[in-house]
Amino acid sequence: MSFLDLKNVTKIYPNGTKAVHETSLSIDEGEFMVFVGPSGCGKSTLLRMVAGLEDITEGDINLDGKLMNEVDPSERDVAMVFQNYALYPHMNVYNNLAYGLKNRGIDKETIEQKVNDAAKLLQISDYLQRKPSMLSGGQRQRVAMGRAIVRNPKIFLFDEPLSNLDAKLRIQMRLEIKKLQQKVGVTSIFVTHDQVEAMTLADRLAVINNGIIEQLGTPIEIYDNPKSLFVAGFIGSPQMNFLDGNLKNKTLSAEGFEIKDVNTEHEGEVTLGIRPEHLVQSENGLINLKVDLVEQLGSDNLVYGQLTNIKDFCYRCPGNQTIEKGSNLSLNIENKKYYIFDKSTGKRVN
């Protein structure tokens, strides 16, 4: 049995909404797991069930070999960082960190030492006497993390902790969280709807949609090998291009072009997915793109244009190439890096 074990966990709210469907998942000790999915997909509910803040309708949660279903949140030895940090507004930073320890009946000297250690680690030692209202967003974030670290819990739970920060700080804190987790080595679950956050932080990633884990794997596995249309569309930025097509005799015919020798026996209506970064310019390419718009990011250019029937088809090219609006590009798919999904089920078929 692994460190954290979810077995057929289901959550049905009293009004009948099914938030999480029979989810099973194992997380190893020290692993950084990220739940990613659109809002309302059940990822936060799953996290809150691990924390004990939501009841489990069906299934079991085991943490470190102990069944947690009926265990009180305070007894689970988990720490959580909330989206709005939920710092205690009337206590100074020191007491925010110390409160959980005091409740455990730890003696004063030990508390002081633990708080000071955590504060040092997070570089908040200078603010220990301040109230949360006198701190900036990044500092509050650090205090929230400090409150989690100081208790030395079995597992860290992060519920979209970066979404209240501005873009620059978000990237910085993302890095700090990752570094910190590696340093402290605590098993962590991080919930986010931001796929970049998910890709960068995760040891393993669970892509969740409609209360079901669509795919579980390392970020690169999921990026290279999405098993469904949803995962393919959700992971990767800019989003994968999707085209309608038809498969017959290992030949895929799509909008104005054909791909032969496709690696599948599947036949019928399909969706073809191509990532913008897997396209290359070449003479007599498969795809003919009429350029509408170029977004210059510096390192890259995002080129948006039209195929025969498709709008906003995206192609990503290095930033040093100049591409004129209104020009026609001829594009090929690099190394057969395309994905074919069954149109009705959304499952990958090649």
């Binding site: 305070s74 720490a79 205690y88 507004p89 009337h90 409160y99 409740n103």
Partner: protein
């Protein structure tokens, strides 16, 4: 600085308001410093006379009532105990019942809240006979308990606390839970400190309410040692009318001025909190 006409008008209105409030108090105070004969013959006074110390000394220490034993000082103590008891218990009970209503999501929470709220429609004056019956059956007439207890339940304060607790984000509770707080420590460590301005505001309201109670102590108390200041205002010195003695108007004014002091002090000391509690919440 340029003063706009609108500001002048606003100030005139405010000054008139202040005068309307202050002048009667000043007249009472000035009149309390003369002797009764002067006031009876010359009417109320605007300037301070020479009987100030004598009048106040007499009011505080003279023994009155039928028993000739109760003094104004004793009545002040009674009123203070009653107001303090009502205010403290009201705040404590309202805060705790609001806590139960907001955080324990039992099925009857909403009906119970409305039941509490409806009691606003039946103030003590309406239910005075049943209340008296209950208190007297419990043998609580002529006791501080009897004076305080029937006035303790408060829909207003419960409502205010409930509204405040509802604005506290759920994450705070969840976070506290993960930090090992139980129901009691969440109330003491979080809700009480977060609502301290609110508590101060409610305390002032309820203190003044308790202090100015008239009908209930009047019905409740037959023993003079439980008389309160507001009752005394009506009862004390009435004997003057019966006999040949002059009405003791100056002493009455002194008594009125004294009776105003405790609530004023409470407001003065707690007003900083009071205003904060009414206009903002510390979050």
């Amino acid at each position: 600085m340029k003063i706009k006409p609108l500001q002048i008008i606003a100030h005139i209105i405010l000054i008139l308001g202040v005068l309307l409030m202050v002048v009667p108090i000043w007249i009472s105070f000035a009149s309390s410093s003369h002797d009764s004969v002067t006031i009876l013959t010359e009417g109320m006074k605007f300037h301070i006379g020479d009987q100030l110390a004598r009048n106040y000394n007499e009011v505080l220490n003279e023994k009155g009532g039928w028993s000739e034993e109760v003094t104004a000082a004793k009545m002040f103590i009674n009123s203070f105990i009653m107001a303090l008891g009502i205010a403290t218990l009201k705040v404590v009970i309202s805060a705790m019942s609001a806590y139960a209503l907001v955080y324990y999501r039992f099925k009857l929470a909403v009906p119970i809240f409305w039941l509490i709220f409806i009691t606003l429609l039946v103030p003590l004056e309406v239910r005075i006979f049943p209340s008296y019956k209950i208190v007297s059956d419990l043998g609580l007439t002529n006791s501080y308990t009897g004076l305080i207890l029937p006035l303790v339940a408060s829909a207003t304060a419960t409502f205010f606390f409930r509204q405040f607790y509802k604005t506290i984000p759920d994450e705070l509770l969840e976070s506290a839970k993960l930090d090992g707080a139980n129901a009691w420590s969440f109330f003491i460590d979080f809700l009480v400190p977060l609502s301290k301005t609110m508590i101060a505001a409610m305390f002032i309201f309820m203190f003044v309410y308790g202090y100015s109670q008239y009908l209930w102590p009047l019905i409740m108390t037959t023993a003079e040692e439980y008389w309160t200041v507001v009752m005394g205002m009506k009862i004390i010195y009435t004997e003057s009318y019966e006999g040949v003695a002059l009405p003791r108007t100056a002493e009455r004014f002194a008594y009125i001025i004294l009776s105003m002091i405790p609530p004023v002090l409470v407001v003065v000391f707690l007003q900083k909190w009071f205003i904060k509690g009414l206009i903002q919440t510390e979050k």
